[in-house]
């Protein structure tokens, strides 16, 4: 907080030199109407200072010094979001296959989603990170058109250093050499607007975690991330559903699945419809429809597999909620043996 305040006093370009340029009043977090309104709009606690919110808005491409940009905050926020999302998904759907889990996590906390969240919060971006811009604007250096971004950017050269993605400063931030090399590396680079906004959103989570409490961060996460609609049942794609289902039944000791015709219409017509149920013994595992018996059978197997993988326990306890209750003995969530290997 103090560091952020000193960053504002020092100014963006004056961190390394002894001469400190005077900043226009718009740079002060306390005079920025945008910053205050953003703080109010997000219903942040008074313990979350405006200085931190201003620091969250400064991208490493605008200010290379990790003391004054949001690199460390966004790193922490990234870890928090990853942890909370995984915990939420695995507590709610303990049997999710790993690919679906990753897809769901990507849907919740990918830079694109966080960019949308940032837009919904009403965060505006400065065109260029200069001294005159308001402290309530997102400040970053834009990626030049045609410049690579993503994996190709990090793997474009053959040397060893280029193979490591530019992680935010995790070493001792006070070391002068680290700061200089960081500064040199970042100075020429830009960042897409979506990623800069996503980093800001992550930093806000970190700020809440540090200034308020872990449970507040978790609450904020539930309000802003988990509240977004995601139909997890649409994320599945089975390559061999019928074989998958029979492997599942063999593993779990159920009777081998049998496809049974529940109803049909227009078998000899151009548009027949068949409804097929996948049965194990007398239990109906799932049902599917289709224009052919094969299609209906495969869809029935898919429906049965979704029924297995989308099992949700009645009690969904997350560690954070247990902490809130206080004094309650820790009880483990349901842990599944794992997905079926086909």
């Amino acid at each position: 907080m103090l560091e952020a305040a000193s960053a504002i006093q020092l100014g963006i370009k004056g961190t390394g030199s002894s001469k400190q340029p005077r900043l226009p009043p718009c740079r002060s977090p306390h005079t920025s109407a945008k910053l205050s309104s953003l703080h109010a709009r997000l219903s942040l606690s008074p313990t979350f200072p405006l200085e931190t919110l201003a620091r969250c808005l400064i991208d490493p491409t605008a200010e290379p010094n990790p003391k004054f940009n949001n690199a460390t905050l966004s790193n922490l926020g990234n870890n928090l979001l990853g942890y909370y999302t995984t915990e939420h998904l695995l507590a709610k759907y303990p049997r999710l296959p790993i690919d679906v889990l990753y897809a769901a996590m990507h849907a919740y906390i990918s830079p694109q989603t966080l960019f949308q969240a940032g837009r919904e919060w009403g965060v505006e971006d400065a065109f260029e990170p200069t001294l005159e811009v308001d402290a309530g604007l997102l400040q970053f250096k834009r990626l030049k058109p045609g410049e690579p971004w993503g994996p190709e950017r990090f793997f474009k050269t053959g040397d060893e250093s280029a193979l490591e993605p530019p992680a935010p400063a995790t070493d001792d931030p006070t070391s002068k050499s680290t700061l200089d090399s960081e500064a040199e590396k970042k100075e020429v680079e830009g960042i897409p607007l979506s990623h800069a906004t996503a980093n800001f959103v992550k930093s806000v989570f970190a700020g809440i975690y540090l200034h308020e409490s872990p449970s507040s961060a978790h609450h904020f996460f539930r309000q802003h991330i988990i509240s977004r609609h995601l139909d997890i049942s649409k994320l599945f794609n089975f390559e061999q559903p019928t074989r998958h289902l029979s492997r599942l039944c063999a593993r779990e000791g159920f009777q081998p699945p049998i496809a049974r015709l529940l109803s049909e219409t227009g078998r000899r017509s151009r548009t027949p419809v068949f409804i097929v149920g996948a049965y194990s013994g007398e239990e109906r595992l799932g049902e599917g429809y289709g224009a052919s018996l094969d299609e209906a059978r495969i869809r029935a197997a898919v429906s049965a597999l979704k029924g297995w993988y989308l099992y949700s326990p009645t009690e969904k306890k997350e560690a954070e909620e247990e902490e809130e209750e206080g004094g309650r003995e820790f009880s483990s969530v349901f842990v599944d043996v794992g997905e079926v290997i086909v």
């Binding site: 081998p256 049974r260 297995w308």
Partner: protein, 221 residues
């Protein structure tokens, strides 16, 4: 239609009459048609939309007994739940899939399992007759199959070996895969066949492949 026969003599009598003068204008209609029409148009709501009186239980003699409105039928105080026919939700877990620790495991039935399916005879017919696995081949015979297939994959094809050893073609393919050379020859032959296809067949095959790729869940259903 009986109605036409009945109406004909009444309505068209003046046409068949021998009189040359215009018949007197009079309003001709069947005395009961309006009433019958109104009655016919008065559609009753579907039986599933009618509330279920607490005292009536459907029996085999009168399966729709509960559907009739009676004076005692509560009208406004009943919740009618009649959703359209649709696929069951993917989030409804069949009771067999519930782990033993789940409290729902002990519930008598779930929505997916109909209560009428009490025994195997009442189950719907299977698509294919379920076959019991034979497990008739020993390790020695399996290695024999492998040797034969390696020796001459053309003569000892999957079909031929399956017939000789009383196994399925799938099983033979699983235990004794053909060599790379034979596979390449077969692929080449298949490619030649595909080359001879016309535009319609080629496109139909591509479309079918695309449709099939979506059945595993990729088409969003």
């Amino acid at each position: 239609m009986p109605t036409t026969h009945r109406l004909f003599p009444t309505t068209l009598r003046w046409l068949t009459s021998t009189s040359t003068i215009t018949p007197p204008k009079q309003f001709l209609r069947h005395e009961s048609s309006a009433r019958r029409l109104t009655k016919r148009l008065r559609l009753q709501p579907d039986s599933t939309f009618l509330p279920l009186p607490s005292n009536s239980i459907p029996t085999s003699q009168s399966p729709h007994a509960f559907a009739r409105l009676a004076a005692s039928t509560p009208r406004a105080s009943t919740i009618i739940y009649n959703p359209p026919a649709s696929m069951p939700s993917a989030y409804a877990t069949p009771s067999i899939f519930l782990p033993p620790s789940d409290p729902r495991k002990n519930l008598p039935t779930t929505s997916l399992t109909a209560s009428t399916e009490s025994n195997t005879n009442n189950l719907p017919p299977p698509l294919k007759k379920p076959k019991a696995k034979k497990y008739n081949l020993t390790q020695k015979e399996i290695s024999e199959i492998r040797d034969l297939r390696q020796e001459d994959p053309v003569v000892n094809s999957r079909t031929a070996l399956a017939k000789t050893y009383g196994a399925s073609r799938f099983f033979v393919g699983m235990v004794a895969e053909a060599g790379k050379k034979h596979k390449a020859v077969m692929a080449e032959e298949q490619e030649k066949v595909k080359q001879s296809w016309g535009r319609k067949r080629t496109e139909a095959r591509i479309d079918r492949k695309k449709r099939r790729a979506g059945w595993g869940g990729a088409d969003g259903n």
